[in-house]
């Protein structure tokens, strides 16, 4: 593996410091999903994010050729003048990225790389060379939803990359890694499993030297269930992540999105209320373009400001306990008891079906679990497969036909678009 060259990057306030300062003032940090293949557009996007009327963190979303290692295709696209769905971080001269970051005020303005890669070495090298030290992912959550790569290979490469990132601590930095485990395929997964996966990934990061982590929770289809989920996640982190800095990040709905601007804004407001009301520190927003195409800079800024305003007048909300925390805890301990090494435990857990993501067709996922959805959007297990859980006593039929699946997938779209 190549070693990072170039000047040692400037060490500024860490991602963690920025988040905890905002948290102390009860300000929700909001962040876009944003990436352009044109450096000018990327610079303008970061600048606009910073200038938005909200407490913001910048994002560089990486394009999917780079994510999947198709670097030849990146080159062809750039040559042909074809715009990509993100910033081709590994193909752009690190000096150019560093200049861009300087222009937008990094590191006082934190910038995170979001990339969805199961084989992320080149991306980690590029971000480190560009002077960045905050990114996202995980051995499970960037493998199962994002690739066909065998899980054990993703685990090995992610371990290596965590250690590369953690080495930045020697320069006095406090590199940050966020787990995408609270999203997985974005929809139709009961929250207990999402919580378990994101906490297990945080433990994996910790084992490989990272000391600043975030765990995620993607807004699902029932607000009360989501609030309980976010609170359960915080409670489990308090139990299990005692010696690292951690915070919770909420993702505005990651499934089939409302098509109307009104519906899209309304669900984003609900996401902001979920994040702030549930005690999360950060929210990743979605825009009115979500159901249709890659959003513009303006649409992103609108979403950031809308979410910040919607969060401002929310107070913490407590919800009754339906057992999400216990379910997640049971899964976490079942997995941890399989091996002292978290990575090996994760691989064994998927092999035995102790972790099994519904509707995930990755070859290392059993796919024996199915979900059902109540009329009010509450998600349940229709079939727990080999998960170490007691099957739900009350259950509706699983989603197994194209029409049934599409109906459940578009539950949110239907309710928010008012069709």
């Amino acid at each position: 593996m190549a070693t990072a060259t170039g000047p040692s990057p400037a060490v500024g306030p860490s991602f963690h410091t920025f988040i905890s300062d905002a948290r102390r003032d009860r300000r929700l940090v909001v962040q876009p999903r944003m990436g352009f293949s044109d450096t000018g557009a990327m610079t303008a996007g970061l600048r606009a994010t910073r200038a938005a009327r909200a407490t913001t963190v910048g994002t560089i979303t990486v394009d999917s050729y780079t994510r999947t290692g198709e670097l030849g295709a990146v080159e062809r696209a750039l040559r042909d003048g074809v715009a990509l769905n993100g910033y081709p971080l590994a193909s752009i001269d690190p000096g150019v990225t560093r200049t861009m970051l300087g222009e937008v005020g990094h590191p006082s303005f934190p910038v995170q790389v979001r990339h969805g890669s199961a084989a992320p070495t080149k991306i980690f090298e590029a971000l480190l060379e560009a002077g960045l030290d905050a990114t996202e992912g995980g051995p499970v959550s960037y493998c199962l939803p994002y690739s066909r790569r065998p899980l054990h290979l993703a685990v090995a490469e992610w371990a290596h990359c965590c250690r590369r990132l953690a080495a930045r601590r020697e320069d006095g930095a406090n590199p940050h890694l966020e787990s995408f485990g609270g999203c997985m395929l974005g929809q139709l997964c009961p929250p207990g499993l999402l919580i378990a996966i994101t906490v297990l990934e945080a433990l994996f990061f910790r084992q490989h030297g990272i000391r600043s982590v975030s765990v995620s929770f993607a807004q699902q289809t029932n607000h009360r269930q989501d609030l309980e989920g976010v609170q359960a996640l915080r409670a489990l982190c308090a139990e299990l992540l005692t010696d690292v800095d951690w915070h919770v990040v909420v993702y505005a709905y990651m499934g089939v999105y409302p098509r109307t601007p009104r519906g899209a804004r309304e669900i984003l407001r609900a996401a902001a209320r979920l994040a702030h009301g549930g005690g999360a520190a950060r929210l990743i927003v979605k825009t009115t373009a979500e159901a249709h195409r890659i959003p513009t800079i303006g649409e992103n800024v609108e979403a950031l400001e809308l979410a910040a305003a919607a969060a401002a007048d929310v107070t913490p909300q407590a919800v009754p306990d339906s057992g999400i925390r216990d379910e997640a805890r049971q899964l976490i301990h079942a997995v941890l008891s399989m091996d002292a090494d978290v990575g090996r435990a994760l691989v064994s857990a998927f092999a035995r079906g102790y972790l099994d993501v519904p509707y995930c067709i990755h070859p290392d996922n059993h796919a024996a679990t199915t979900t059902s959805m109540d009329a009010d959007g509450w998600l349940r297990w229709a079939d727990v497969g080999s998960l170490p859980l007691t099957p739900d006593a009350v259950s509706s039929p699983p989603l197994l036909t194209s029409a049934g699946l599409l109906r459940a997938l578009s539950h949110v779209q239907r309710s928010y678009d008012g069709a």
Binding site: D63, S64, Y65, R67, T68, E70, A73, R76, A77, D80, V82, A83, L84, N85, G116, P145, Y146, S147, R148, L185, Q187, V256, H292, R293, I294, Y359, C360, I361, H362, P363, L400, T401, S402, L405, L406, L409
Partner: protein
């Protein structure tokens, strides 16, 4: 899933996401839909390497190859892909279609579709609301496949 089998020979389809596309809900949905409509579907999954697609189509000689892609690279990647596929002798005459969300800025004025067709796709389904038109195609291919499979000598 044999529950959908209605007897007789079912036409076969290969379904795949192109190399850079990780989305799977589209694949799962199309797999269920086509199975319900009487097709035998082999879902190769997301991020399908071109050589796997070529090898699988040589192995099972499908009646139809369906490329589904929504990540916005479909237009660019779809062109490269169809050129590789059409270079293979055994894929020269196989119906191949592509659909999903093909660009990063929504459906265009149709020039993209034309280029994809010219490059070798039999049909292109860009944007939402294209499934009914796809079903019409499936129906006609299915009847065609059935005629070919019947013992009566085909007059062409």
């Amino acid at each position: 899933m044999n529950v959908y089998e209605t007897g007789g020979t079912r036409p076969t389809a290969l379904l795949a996401g192109p190399p850079s596309d990780a989305h799977t809900w589209n694949l799962l949905y199309l797999q269920l839909l086509m199975t319900e409509l009487g097709w035998q579907v082999s879902n190769l999954g997301p991020c399908t390497p071109v050589r796997l697609l070529v090898a699988e189509s040589a192995r099972c000689a499908p009646d139809l190859v369906v490329i589904s892609t929504v990540n916005g690279h479909g237009y660019h990647e779809g062109l490269t892909l169809i050129r590789s596929l059409r270079r293979e002798a055994h894929l020269r005459d196989t119906p191949i279609v592509v659909g999903g969300k093909l660009g990063i800025d929504g459906p265009d004025d149709g020039s993209r579709l034309k280029r994809l067709r010219d490059a070798g796709y039999d049909d292109v389904f860009d944007g939402d609301g294209q499934v009914p038109r796809f079903q019409v195609l499936l129906d006609s291919l299915r009847h065609h496949a059935r005629r070919q499979a019947s013992p009566a000598p085909a007059v062409r």
